[in-house]
């Protein structure tokens, strides 16, 4: 256990760090003056790009592409096909398997075959419908079961193994097993995919792109155009939501806009129609999970055997990292003495599934909770007891991949506090009482933990750069490689830089992420945006400040301890100056007032090949308690009360962190309840608009919704002001809702594990209700 009492306290003179400041763009947001790419003034002659696709084809070899009618349509300037790509026809991050435009094959329903360049978006959209594309159809592989039968994957299988799960199963007093289907999720960022590209001198291009990964857009555009990286600049001021959906998925649209700009010499803009966006871009991976768990009569886990079958879609995209993270989180917060965790990355003829907030972690953790619920129901104990019985502790603190859970005391403390504050045990009695008096409506209650590993498991991504300028009027220009998608990253980094210079935050000019200012960045993802970029920015600010201190020491013949930066002033002993005065003097003395900061996360030693080492800098913790009511005649459900307690270390900005926790929870709740992706038997996505794909609305949030930050003693790791990452972990707080629904269904027939799949739509709930009613009371396990 780390000695937390020894942690350094945050200096008392902080004016911005740890304060609940509003989002930096809050006022612009409410006024409608925050500029998104589609709002930018269009240069004269701006053209519009619309992707064209074969609406009749799901999978098959292209036999003819007749675009004559498209070319002749009113307003059409040019039509691009794969033949018009001067560079490499690929927009994947690394694997080379994502064509920008289809060549000889349609790989999934919605694959882009050509691009129309037209004088207006409307003209382009109408023209795109006129294409006549024919293909020799082949039967697509759509389901995980089909892909398993065909034995086809996008990436090699991978597994973690500890001890001998086979022996463990034999030794266990009881073995449960089942099959659990977990649905995917559409990002539904409110701002759809969009990019605008302007031709520059010497064949270069300036790309405004709604992306979490400007560097990758830059590199992809250069690759597609066949020009050096240095001729491409990618910029993003803000996204209207990302959630992982703009980590790799923005590449294609930026590439098409850039191709069009290069082909026409005009500024070209591509903004996807919402239905196209939902059909063409990847989603959260859906899984079939085959699970087996051995436990003793008390419910203590002895051995675990998991087989994660993920539907990755037609290409690899980010499926390696996503599925690894599923494996890393298949333990939730529980110690598995002997375990094998297998992962297959199935290739299906569907859109290529991608990053989504949690990045595979939610599916792993939900599986663990399903197994815990199964044990509890089988041994006839409250699931809460089984959870606590199997928690990591001082003796049992090694994860199946070998990293110790160092803060298990925080985990226990946090969980215990929520058990108290949610009044769990009293409400358990109330729920039981309600259920005994109601034949149709049944309540369920659950309290579940979150433990989420922070760091990219791809080691080289754990680095960041920043660029800070101090101008001679005392104002500060701040730039870094992190992107703003609503999560408040820009504001948090600005708070850190403002406090570093001892200035008010209005003196810090936040600027758009731009690949020509900070190069070779990683994506803003894995919850790490603040951890990485705030450190890099502080490092840059410190270097500048240290130069000023050095200059002042020489000028005023004093020691560094006599100098303080505070409240827009610089104190030198008894004297005080404005920062502007000091900056001006330093400039006249030829002191460099700009610096490029850098940061690389320490202590990460994960080696994928040997499946050993430490993948995460630290874990973030949380817990959630949910109470639901279901209608056992129709499957309808309401979430009645939710209590959340979450660990963000020492919060850099409690207002923003609470927003991430609530928003993440509700997004996770949508994934597990109303959000259902439906493909028809031909492999066409049928839920490609908000009319058919239902994200939570305001009335879906519980009336009784209590959210609190855990009173942390600070991150034991040396993160930025001892804070913890907060972007993704709260999504998994929503597991409590799913487990509460399971609990409600289970009340119908004690001892039988409900066959409830995710999402728990009314239909899924009824399926579980039906199966549990049919099951013989006393039969054990979900699939036995």
């Amino acid at each position: 256990m780390t000695d937390q009492s020894a942690l350094p306290e945050t200096p008392a003179n902080m004016r911005h760090v740890h304060k609940p400041l509003n989002h930096d763009s809050a006022v612009k947001h409410v006024r409608g003056t925050a500029t998104y790419i589609d709002d930018m003034p269009e240069p004269i002659g701006t053209l519009h790009v619309v992707p064209g696709w074969a609406r009749q084809v799901v999978r098959g070899k292209l036999t003819s592409i007749d675009l004559d009618a498209v070319r002749k349509a009113p307003g059409v300037v040019k039509v691009l096909t794969a033949d018009d790509i001067p560079g490499v026809n690929d927009c994947s991050a690394a694997m080379g398997d994502d064509p920008v435009l289809a060549t000889d094959e349609i790989l999934f329903y919605g694959q882009v075959v050509f691009a129309v360049i037209a004088s207006s978006r409307e003209a382009g959209r109408k023209a795109a419908l006129l294409a006549r594309i024919e293909a020799q159809p082949t039967t697509p592989i759509i389901t995980a079961e089909d892909a398993v039968a065909a034995d086809i994957t996008v990436l090699p299988d991978y597994q973690f193994r500890r001890g001998s799960p086979e022996t463990g199963m034999t030794a266990a007093e009881n073995v449960l097993s089942g099959v659990f289907q977990i649905g995917g999720q559409e990002h539904f960022y409110l701002e759809g995919q969009v990019a605008m590209a302007s031709p520059q001198e010497d064949g270069g291009v300036m790309v405004y792109t709604s992306t979490q990964h400007p560097t990758e857009v830059q590199h992809t555009v250069a690759k597609v155009l066949g020009i050096p990286d240095a001729l491409v600049v990618a910029e993003v001021r803000r996204m209207g939501g990302g959630f992982g959906g703009k980590e790799s998925q923005a590449n294609q649209w930026a590439s098409l806009a850039a191709l069009a700009a290069a082909a026409t010499g005009e500024t070209c803009k591509l903004r996807l129609d919402r239905d196209d966006d939902m059909i063409m871009t990847g989603k959260r991976h859906d899984f079939r999970v085959e699970w087996q768990i051995g436990h003793d009569s008390q419910g203590r886990i002895r051995a675990v055997d998991l087989n994660f079958l993920a539907r990755c879609g037609y290409s690899a995209d980010l499926s390696l990292g996503v599925n690894d993270r599923t494996m890393f989180h298949a333990d939730s917060s529980y110690f598995y003495p002997d375990a094998v965790i297998r992962s297959r990355r199935l290739k299906t003829d569907t859109c290529s599934n991608t990053a989504f907030r949690g990045f595979g972690g939610p599916q792993g953790m939900l599986t663990a909770e399903r197994m815990i619920d199964a044990i509890a129901i089988t041994v006839g104990k409250d699931p809460l007891e089984i959870r606590q019985l199997n928690f990591y502790d001082a003796e049992h603190n090694l994860t199946p991949y070998g990293m110790p859970v160092e803060e298990h005391e925080v985990m226990h403390d946090l969980f215990g506090q929520l058990v108290e504050s949610s009044d769990y045990w009293a409400r358990r009695d109330e729920v039981r009482d309600f259920n005994s008096h109601n034949a149709v409506l049944k309540k369920g209650l659950a309290l579940t933990p979150v433990k989420f590993g922070i760091s990219f498991t791809l080691k080289h991504l754990n680095q960041a750069g920043a660029l800070v300028h101090l101008y001679t009027d005392g104002s500060v220009h701040l730039n870094h490689g992190g992107t703003e998608m609503g999560q408040g990253l820009y504001q948090k980094v600005a708070q850190v830089v403002a406090d570093e210079f001892g200035i008010t935050i209005d003196k810090v000019r936040i600027t758009a992420t731009n690949t020509s200012k900070v190069p070779n960045t990683g994506p803003t993802a894995a919850s790490s945006g603040t951890d990485l970029n705030a450190m890099a920015a502080r490092n840059a600010a410190r270097v500048i400040k240290d130069r000023l201190i050095d200059f002042l020491c020489k000028t005023h013949q004093c020691g560094a301890e006599a100098i303080a930066f505070q409240d827009n002033k610089v104190f030198v002993g008894e004297q005080q100056f404005s920062l502007a005065q000091v900056a001006k003097q330093a400039h006249l003395a030829r002191i460099h007032l700009s610096d490029a900061g850098f940061y690389a996360t320490p202590n990460i030693t994960w080696d994928r090949d040997s499946a050993g080492g430490r993948p995460f800098f630290y874990f973030a913790y949380g817990a959630a308690c949910a109470e639901v009511t279901i209608d056992t005649m129709t499957g309808e459900m309401t979430v009645d009360r939710v209590d959340l307690l979450h660990d963000v270390g020492h919060s850099l900005n409690p207002a923003i962190d609470i927003g991430q926790i609530e928003g993440g929870f509700v997004q996770g709740m949508g994934w597990l309840t109303t959000e259902e992706l439906v493909w028809d038997e031909q492999g066409r996505l049928r839920t490609h608009a908000p009319s058919t794909y239902k994200i939570p609305a305001a009335s879906d949030i519980p009336e009784d919704f209590n959210v609190a930050l855990y009173q942390s003693r600070g991150n034991p790791q040396d993160t930025i002001y001892r804070s913890k990452a907060v972007g993704e972990p709260p999504v998994m707080l929503a597991n409590a809702v799913f487990c509460a629904i399971t609990d409600a269904v289970a009340s119908l027939n004690p001892g039988v594990v409900p066959d409830l799949d995710a999402p728990a739509t009314p239909e899924a709930i009824m399926k579980a209700v039906r199966s549990i009613r049919r099951a013989q009371a006393g039969s054990r396990g979900a699939a036995e």
Binding site: D38, G486, T634, G663, A698, S699, K767
Partner: protein, 490 residues
């Protein structure tokens, strides 16, 4: 005849002589006026990012409604005040709802925010709204936010929307009313030429004549369906006739025997009258689309188009609703259930249009219930929609009218179950069994993205059982997760 449209924006009258028949308010704002505060999120009126406020005089009172500008035709704001997010702080200060949204962290990525602000602006100006979480979540059900989880937005609404209006719009309301009165004329609008026009006749006779001449024209009431033909199906609609200026066609008249609704009466306008027919009908009404959709959408239009999105027809059918149709030389009345011939096919002749419908009130010895089942409670389309009207004498059912949506290509009645229930006793559930069984031969539901066939059948049977249980005295609170408010007061 007028060949322009005119509306009020930021205190000034805007007059446009060039209006394309399919031009939307959103395209006008973003592409012509270059006011980009209003966003496009989905282009089908489902996400609310494009919400603007439209002010009109209703019984002399200035009333603001939230409208999805992506599917609202530009011509439809003739005579109204159009308010966008840009207009809220033309004096440089934040509007109270903007201030609350910013200070209470109601925005994260900010893209949905202008839409929320405009929805809340209309709530701010709505009269007679009691401060409650439910009032707010109902009002903003048509605004989707993917970042915040809504809690801070609801808090901002609770903080800012329930004081008496004290903003620039309230201060200059008299002036606005004057200007809107100036704009209201009884001239027919016709912009374009024989092959392509957008028109808005001022009288029913004018409409009949114009439609007789142009039977290929598209008639538009609220455009909540037709708007999607434009934005999603990319249809060219060269001739558009908007009904919204025909005097009296939007009437809602309550009589002892029922409610008469004109063809252009919006869901919003009819809501109170429907709630007075039955709390269940009122609850159903509140779950049709969103506030924005109900403010524009009309029952008449939904029926006239035979929209596959038909959550009200089952309820209206069992109540015995009749439909009035008119053409240049003729008019007729027919039972609503006879109007739906097949999927996408209606009993409407060339040149004929819907003028209104009459919804009878249940008699004292009749029990009406309806239930909507959907994946999401608010602003979703039903997977199964069941409606029931039982006529009861001495605890025995003498007549049953049962209709379902989602169980066949069109909303249809359940003849087998209806017959089986005659003579059934409300006191003896065993007498219901035949009807429960008959439902299985009354329908052969389909599987689609909303639900599978098995679930649909199972749920239809469950709803019939619920209706019978409630009719026999079981408290709704024991059978439903959310009991309609007025039911509790009964």
């Amino acid at each position: 005849m007028r060949d322009t449209i005119r509306f009020l924006k930021d205190g000034e009258i805007v007059e446009l002589s060039e209006v394309r028949p399919t031009e939307t308010v959103l395209d006008y704002l973003r592409l012509r006026a270059r006011q980009t505060g209003t966003k496009e999120g989905c282009g089908e009126g489902d996400c609310g990012a494009c919400t603007v406020a439209v002010g009109r005089l209703v019984a002399g009172k200035l009333t603001y409604q939230p409208v999805n500008s992506c599917i609202q035709l530009l011509a439809m704001i003739d005579g109204a005040e159009l308010v966008t997010v840009e207009d809220l702080n033309s004096d440089g200060r934040l509007h109270p709802v903007q201030k609350a949204m910013a200070e209470l962290n109601g925005s994260q990525c900010g893209f949905c925010t202008p839409g929320f602000v405009m929805s809340l602006f209309t709530l701010y100006h709505a009269e007679g709204q009691a401060r409650s979480r439910k009032a707010v979540t109902e009002w903003i059900a048509g605004n989707l936010c993917r970042c915040t989880g809504y809690r801070p937005i609801v808090d901002a609404a609770l903080e800012s929307c329930f004081e008496s209006a004290d903003d620039a719009f309230a201060w200059r309301a008299n002036e606005t009313r004057e200007k809107l009165r100036e704009l209201a004329d009884s001239r027919d609008i016709y912009i374009g030429h024989g092959d392509g026009f957008v028109a808005s006749p001022a009288t029913l006779d004018g409409l009949a004549a114009l439609y007789a001449q142009n039977p290929d024209a598209t008639i538009v009431a609220g455009a909540t369906d037709v708007g999607l033909w434009i934005t999603k199906h990319l249809k060219d609609l060269p001739k558009v006739i908007w009904l919204g200026r025909i005097e009296g066609l939007d009437r809602v008249e309550e009589t002892p025997s029922g409610v008469l609704m004109g063809a252009t009466a919006t869901y919003q306008t009819a809501e109170a009258a429907m709630t007075r027919i039955s709390p269940d009908l009122g609850e159903l009404w509140k779950r049709i689309g969103s506030k924005q959709v109900r403010a524009s959408g009309t029952v008449g239009g939904n029926i006239a188009n035979g929209s596959p999105i038909g959550d009200t027809p089952p309820a209206l059918i069992v109540l015995g609703t009749t439909l009035e149709l008119q053409s240049k030389d003729d008019s007729r009345t027919l039972p609503l259930e006879d109007y739906f011939l097949d999927y996408g096919k209606q009993d409407r002749k060339t040149g004929e249009f819907v003028t209104g419908l009459f919804v009878p009130r249940p008699a004292p010895n009749q029990i009406f219930r309806c239930y909507k089942i959907s994946k999401r409670f608010d602003q979703d389309i039903s997977s199964v929609m069941g409606a029931f009207l039982f006529t009861v004498m001495d605890q025995k059912i003498t007549e049953a009218r049962i209709a379902f949506g989602g169980m066949a290509a069109t909303p249809t009645r359940a003849p087998g179950a209806e017959t089986s229930l005659i003579g059934a006793s409300l006191e003896d559930p065993a007498t219901w069994a035949a009807a429960m069984k008959a439902l299985m031969s009354d329908y052969t539901p389909m599987s689609d993205m909303r639900a599978g066939a098995e679930y649909r059948m199972e749920t239809a049977r469950a709803l019939l059982a619920k209706a019978l249980m409630e009719a026999s005295g079981t408290a709704a609170a024991q059978l439903r997760l959310r009991v309609p408010a007025m039911e509790a007061a009964e």
